[in-house]
Symmetry: none
Subunit: 245 residues, 2 copies
Amino acid sequence: MINPLDNIRIVLVGTLYTGNVGSSCRAMANMGIRHLRLAAPNLQNSWDEGERLAVHATDIMNSREEYPSLEEAVKDCVAVVGTTAREGLYRQHSKTPRESAPDLLSLAQTGPVAIVFGREDKGLLNEEIAQCTHLLRIPVSEGYTSINLSQAVLITTYELFTASGTYLPPKEKAPPAPQAQKAQLIKNWSKMLIETGFMKEEQTDHFMQGFQRVFSRGVFSKDDAALMLGVARQVSWAIKNQREI
Amino acid sequence: MINPLDNIRIVLVGTLYTGNVGSSCRAMANMGIRHLRLAAPNLQNSWDEGERLAVHATDIMNSREEYPSLEEAVKDCVAVVGTTAREGLYRQHSKTPRESAPDLLSLAQTGPVAIVFGREDKGLLNEEIAQCTHLLRIPVSEGYTSINLSQAVLITTYELFTASGTYLPPKEKAPPAPQAQKAQLIKNWSKMLIETGFMKEEQTDHFMQGFQRVFSRGVFSKDDAALMLGVARQVSWAIKNQREI
């Protein structure tokens, strides 16, 4: 049986300081999670500080994988879980790490699950949030909602670690849709919805977040994604050919 | 009614680095806890690093109280709660922060409760453990049990904060779709999918089972149903009018 923690990928997007990478690696090691990915890192200082703060977790830091974008970093993942500490647009359907941990561990039984953390200064951008199949909101006091990056990593991995003793294996038979297929689905649906006049191109981010929500309820399988891709293909064809029975 | 978080005292014993004090202050602020005490601090560097890492929690750092010993630091407290991440002597009766949080908050309704954190390099000494009325063991992976001081403060205060009920987890705003709306959705989608040529009328039962499955993952809200109904309406319209942008 797979240890679902081995399938968790911690993805740091646009990180500025190596110290936060190092502290995050130590937090990951404390919580039994070992795979780190950096997406479009924007590091402003040398790795010395990262190594100092990683302490005995430098092996995690040194075996990190780097990608030019979030999209590239999560291609193989069956779920892409954005994290935020703030309320905001599109974030009404976020859950807490504690609520979500059992579901995320079930998903991690089926394939890699990305937990995504944004930049120190401005978090995740809206177009990055739009790529996420799930959103977590870390509970913080209204008095001070800005949480340090490695502290956010700690709380999230701590909830996964403590829940990992009690998770229930998934029941779904069809394999979950990988992120690349879901990205294709969102892309093709966007195109189709613009063609039909359902939305204007500039409304894409807004509307597609709604469809992301619909397509991320529970496990969304490969078969589900294939079905919805088929709809988009056929609608696009029918509009061009004005086919009616 | 007293907010029990106002009666929590975070007590750092023999701390070596101001950076850990600053990071702890930020963690405390994130979790709505504001009273810091240093017992026998042994600081090896200037407060510059502490201020840098406290960010907007310097008020907590600057209003800290200092005491020559743990004994002096906890004199007014109704409970003294030692923390550790390791198993060891005297530590068999420790509980997790999550198990203990409700009891500690009840105690904090009656007077100050000290949560005590040891030195970066060797934790709490046995004579300090002996002064504690309660012991918490922070859950960590056996692979790497040494947790950073401010990370230990974060997990402990996070458990108190989430147990205090001052944090309300985000709930789905939109109510779940009633069955009649879902039936309408299936009916309108059937019509649309036949119009586009996606399926033939006699295939309706077969295909609509698949869409039922997609529309029944987790909670499918009224907003979700309204969104998908809007798609069907617009596609039907577009096919009749062969609209393309």
